[in-house]
């Protein structure tokens, strides 16, 4: 399994404040990785820095062998990385379908619209309504669905289950399973252990702006006690 994404000694800043202190991380082709960590340790910042949203950064980000540090934000997706932000980012001035078809297709192999509507029948039903009129769960589905169309190789998700009802969390789990089966590489931040343990192959534990542990899902049960303590759950 070759590394699709390689992050080495990554630093990032918000103005004067130094938030990432040398993140090292590898995501293999087809792997599903979950980043765990307490509030405010820099999980979201890591994802946003990889995307190129945060430009005050230093270190190394390689995607499919390509140096991403010099790539402008609007070219990141074209390199093959798709982003589902924590706040979901559904546009109020766009209909559901416009939201769904907004991100340009960047490569072959994306899901055709019909297949997306099969996977998310709610979106088909409500395709003419205003994007933000959807429920929280539907908005999360929409935020994921619109990236699936684009044919990206790496899907980055920031806390996709946050604040959602158990049935919806279940549903998101199924969708991610399906994507995994199709060979999609997934990098997600997640607080929900049980959810993450069902889909992740490997975990990174983050503290104070760097990765402090890296272990496969098989080791999760043994590490549960320490993790619970570290994460303060």
């Amino acid at each position: 399994m070759g590394a699709l994404l390689q992050v080495a000694d990554l630093h990032a800043w918000y103005g004067e404040s130094h938030v990432l202190h040398g993140v090292d991380m590898t995501v293999g082709e087809g792997e599903t990785i979950t980043i765990l960590g307490r509030n405010g340790v820099g999980k979201t910042t890591t994802l946003r820095t990889i995307m190129g949203i945060i430009r005050a950064r230093k270190g190394e980000i390689r995607f499919a062998g390509r140096d991403m540090l010099s790539v402008p934000l609007h070219r990141t997706a074209h390199a093959g990385i798709g982003f589902v932000p924590e706040e979901r980012g559904i546009f109020a001035s766009l209909t559901v379908e416009e939201n769904l078809t907004l991100p340009p297709v960047v490569a072959d192999g994306g899901m055709p619209l019909e297949e997306i509507y099969d996977l998310f029948p709610n979106l088909l039903e409500r395709r003419a309504s205003q994007g933000t009129k959807l429920s929280g769960g539907e908005q999360q589905m929409l935020a994921m669905a619109r990236i699936l169309r684009t044919g990206v190789r790496l899907l980055i998700l920031d806390e996709p289950t946050e604040g959602l009802a158990p049935v919806i969390v279940q549903r998101i789990g199924e969708v991610l399973q399906k994507l995994k089966a199709r060979g999609m590489t997934i990098l997600l931040v997640e607080q929900n252990f049980r959810f993450a343990s069902r889909i992740a192959d490997r975990f990174y534990l983050m503290e104070h702006g760097r990765m402090v542990a890296d272990f496969p899902v098989a080791e999760l049960p043994d590490r549960m006690t320490t993790l619970n303590k570290v994460l303060g759950v």
């Binding site: 190129g52 949203i53 934000l73 609007h74 546009f91 340009p104 684009t150």
Partner: protein, 295 residues
Amino acid sequence: MTTIFGIPLAAFLGQLLIGLINGSFYAMLSLGLAVIFGLLRVINFAHGAQYMLGAFVALLLLQYLGVDYWLALAIAPLVVGLFGALVERTMLSRLYDLDPLYGLLFTFGLALTIEGTFRYLYGAAGQPYSVPPALSGGTNLGFMFLPNYRGWVVAVSLVTCLGTWLLIEKTKLGAYLRAATENTVLVQAFGINVPLLLTLTYGFGAALAAFAGVLAAPIYQVSPLMGTNLIIVVFAVVVVGGMGSILGAIVTGYMLGIAEGLTKVFYPEASNIVIFVIMAIVLLLRPAGLFGKDA
């Protein structure tokens, strides 16, 4: 003689038409301002100068190259639009990360520079631009006499406004524009070239102003300051409609043009200030404007 509220019907309809003509220009110009403000968050003080440039390009094309009105209607917006795009790319785009005041000051300075240059080159006096032969004369509608060119201006302005609205509300490009207006960073993260979109938008706004300028040339005279007086009223229109609201800009433009025209009939002394009085009232009662979102 037929009268309405004690006013001769012909005089009433005549002022209504003048109001509608002025409203056509208010609508087209405030529409451009609203589109630019929505996406760029820049209050484009150069909008009046760009309108004037449109009229001047048409005049100069005619004087030096014998290019007629119809061709000028296509060429002038193109030239001014490209000029706008160039200004955005080389100068305005450097100010986006700064306080919005810088964009306002820059476009204000740009307007002064352009208008000053034209005043230096061509003097302040207005120059006539004749109505194209195909639209000269008028039509007797039975209840009033309608100069053909004025009818044409109202029709073209309606089509332009409707077309722009459809472009923004119903097309893919419009969806990019609306989305980028809401969340620039995310749209960019989806792989859309937002800097290019900003350039196109500013160029489009400038072209729209220039298009209105060419339309205005045969009605008002072509002069370096023709945009200065108009733009103040147009800013009032934008404030009444609600900053950034596309539909608000269009509807308010026509409405206030007509309100101004009718004031001339009923209380001529107030016709120059009626728009500003309406603006003051709207600001008191609904600070975000009639169509503003957070009213």
